[in-house]
């Protein structure tokens, strides 16, 4: 669309007119199937009707909208150019710190404020699962720069490890958690080995394939995974052995009886919320610490220049495998929590869409930024939720929001990078939480 004018100079009215006309033309092309034609139920049969009036309005609105939009943009730009350049003090690290603590405070207070609102806490739990997954994938994509499109495979490995350990050996959540993490890490290394030499697009394709392989195995290996029917009645996690049941087994205590509370279904929901909050925070501390260690710096150096890493005597193989293993392990932990929260898992929960969502969270957040992942997870989970009122336009809104964010913030929501070590210790600032 070279005809859509992207000029730096102020536009002449003729240029603006041409630009808006092009946009209107595109709107017409798109609008014919989307607006111009509609299906109507005529006594059981579907018939296609035309809505030329509406199409005309749509095209007209696009034209006028574009014209005004460009005019406003020009005004803003010329005003900005007229303003003298102000010396900008970079306050990003402090701002990140403040936002980080605010988000942490809000997330701790949330279940207390909304203690009776199941929907809010459930949604917040979902956000936190994605935050944890985002932090895990951030190691692989954000820090080590290895584009992984099959991250959901490790999530699935974690979830299925717990489900299978429970159904065959009766393991509890807490027993299965470390094993599932180790299992996912093993799969991470298994995936890592054959793709050591690949990078960029090729790496992405192989990881995409890996994600699909795991899912297809889960669908087809019925004896192991119960196929598409999934595995059900997975036990919920307990608080140091105290279950959240209405009627605990004879001679045992439940959370409610132990603390002398009236039973409430909300207890478990809130407990799950705090559990994932703690897991996510541990993940954050773990990854933030690793980032400041030789291994974390090596990941970032690998992202920046693999050949230079080699010339510095760095074993690139180990660096890559450690990134895959740690990222996979964190995904595995999140998977165990997911299985325990849902109580039922099937391969359907681990499709490519999930991988894409997690990757979108990392990219949208700003590669490598821990707080960015939180903000992006909030946006990506909450936008579709908030959009429910708009029914069928929900995904359209969602897509538009994504495009707008990427236009305004091409480096992600938080693109600034905090050094892992400073010569001048006086200027210390952290990006934790």
């Amino acid at each position: 669309m070279s005809a859509v004018i992207i000029a730096r100079h102020a536009r002449t009215p003729a240029e603006r007119f041409k630009d808006a006309a092009w946009v209107a033309f595109i709107a017409l092309l798109l609008g014919i199937p989307m607006v111009g034609l509609t299906t109507v139920d005529e006594g059981g049969a579907l018939a296609v009707h035309t809505r030329f009036g509406m199409l005309g309005a749509f095209v007209g609105a696009s034209f006028v909208g574009r014209f005004i939009f460009r005019w406003i943009m020009d005004q803003v730009r010329s005003r900005r150019a007229a303003k003298p350049a102000v010396v900008k003090v970079d306050r990003t690290p402090q701002a990140i710190k403040v936002i980080g603590w605010a988000v942490l405070g809000a997330s701790i207070a949330l279940p207390i404020v909304f203690s009776e609102n199941r929907y809010v806490i459930d949604t917040a739990t979902t956000v936190l699962i994605y935050v944890m997954l985002g932090w895990g994938l951030n190691v692989v994509v954000g820090l080590a720069g290895l584009l992984d499109l099959g991250y959901v495979a490790f999530y699935a490995v974690g979830a299925y490890t717990y489900a299978l350990l429970f159904s065959h050996f009766g393991w509890t959540f807490w027993e299965a958690l470390p094993v599932a993490g180790a299992m996912a890490a093993t799969f991470g290394i298994l995936l890592g080995y054959p793709i050591l030499r690949l990078r960029g697009d090729y790496l992405a394709i192989v990881t995409l394939g890996f994600g699909e392989i795991i899912r297809v195995i889960l669908v087809n290996w019925t004896e192991l995974s119960n196929g598409p029917n999934g595995i059900g009645s997975i036990p919920r996690p307990t608080l140091f052995g105290l279950p959240f049941d209405r009627n605990p087994a004879e001679g045992t205590q439940s959370f409610a009886t132990f603390f002398g509370l009236d039973f409430s279904g909300m207890h478990r929901i809130i407990f799950l919320y705090y559990l994932i909050l703690v897991l996510a925070l541990l993940t954050n501390v773990f990854v933030s610490r690793l980032r400041k260690l030789p291994v974390g710096r090596a990941w970032e150096a690998l992202r920046e220049d693999e050949i230079a890493c080699k010339a510095m005597g760095m074993n690139v193989t180990n660096v890559k495998l450690s990134a895959f293993a740690i990222g996979a392990m964190l995904g595995g932990f999140a998977g165990v929590f997911f299985a325990a929260r849902q109580g039922f898992i099937s391969p359907e929960s681990f499709t490519f869409t999930e991988s894409a969502t997690i990757l979108a969270i990392v990219v949208l957040g700003g590669m490598g930024s821990q707080l960015g992942v939180v903000l992006a997870a909030l946006v990506l989970v909450l936008l579709p939720e908030l959009g429910r009122n708009f029914s069928e336009y929900r995904m359209l809104m969602f897509g538009a929001a994504m495009v707008l964010i990427m236009v305004w913030k091409p480096g992600g929501l938080l693109a600034s990078r905090e050094p892992t070590i400073r010569l001048n210790k006086a200027v210390t600032a952290g990006g934790e939480a």
Binding site: L290, A298, A301, D305, A311, M312, V316, P419, R422, L423
Partner: protein, 276 residues
């Protein structure tokens, strides 16, 4: 100053399919001196570097290093990163390869990865910040600070390396290589893109590294003002073969060399360059 041989390359040949990039090359690099490799574009200089530093595996031939502490090593048998890690033969690149988004200091700390990684004990000592790791980190920081100071980079230590001017980036790359604690420093066109003042500074730096720190330097360079002023020994390559070897004075007057630079179809380094 000893003139013992540090590195001796014997009958090195590197073929890529039908193309022979290096043909039966034998060179020896003395310890504690500056040796320059010059030659027209495409003479095989960088390929030679790649063979030395483990990036290519030579087709035939041997590369022996007499390591001051570890004794004799065969570099052609070491793969990839092990040349830098075990043999401490460290290189820079013709087109600067820094870690652009990391700060200058981080670049220098990353160069000490193996030392720090060992101290972090599979990151466990590092995660809990045990004293052993903290001590190692302080030591690495000290090494980095030393070289930052030496190359005049202290003021910009916390700036992202990619945001700095080209000449500065060249110095950072050398500082980073020095942090690996090299016994042989291989510099691939360190003066490329530098202005005359910067190349003069580079001369001083190379000479002081060699004379004061005793680091042997192997240098690929087109800038004759650098080559002729700092080199103790020059080796001239053309079409993968060594056509001359000797002191700067000898090379300047060598008919073969003059022919290689003037008689062939090379454009950029004419006689003026040689005489500089």
């Amino acid at each position: 100053m000893s003139s013992a041989t540090l590195l001796s390359v014997e009958n090195l040949t590197m073929r890529f399919g039908g193309l022979t990039a290096i043909d039966d090359l034998s060179v020896s690099v003395p310890a504690g001196k500056i040796t320059a490799i010059i030659g027209p574009n495409g003479a095989g200089k960088t390929t030679f570097f790649n063979c030395l530093t483990g990036f290519y595996k030579p087709t035939t031939g041997s590369v022996r290093l007499v390591h001051p502490k570890k004794g004799e090593m065969r570099l052609e048998t070491l793969t990839g990163h092990r040349v830098a890690r075990d043999a401490q033969v460290v290189r820079t690149f013709q087109n600067i390869r820094l870690f652009p988004k990391m700060t200058v200091l981080e670049n220098l700390i990353v160069a000490q990865h193996n030392f720090l990684q060992e101290a972090s004990r599979f990151s466990i000592a590092g995660i809990f910040r045990l004293p052993g790791y903290r001590k190692a980190e302080a030591e690495a920081l000290k090494t980095a600070a030393h070289w930052l100071d030496r190359l005049g980079l202290t003021g910009i230590a916390d700036v992202a390396a990619g945001d700095l001017p080209y000449g500065t980036q060249r110095r950072i790359e050398i500082a980073r290589a020095l942090c690996v604690d090299p016994v042989l420093l291989c510099l691939d066109e360190p003066a490329a893109g530098l202005n005359p003042r910067e190349s003069a500074e580079l001369n001083t730096l190379l000479l002081s590294l060699c004379r004061e720190e005793g680091i042997a330097i192997l240098l690929i360079e087109h800038d004759m003002s650098v080559v002729m002023n700092v080199s103790d020994h020059i080796c001239v390559l053309n079409y993968g073969r060594k056509i001359a070897e000797g002191t700067p004075e000898e090379i300047r007057n060598d008919p073969q060399v003059i022919k290689a630079y003037l008689g062939e179809d090379d454009e950029e380094t004419a006689s003026g360059g040689i005489a500089a």
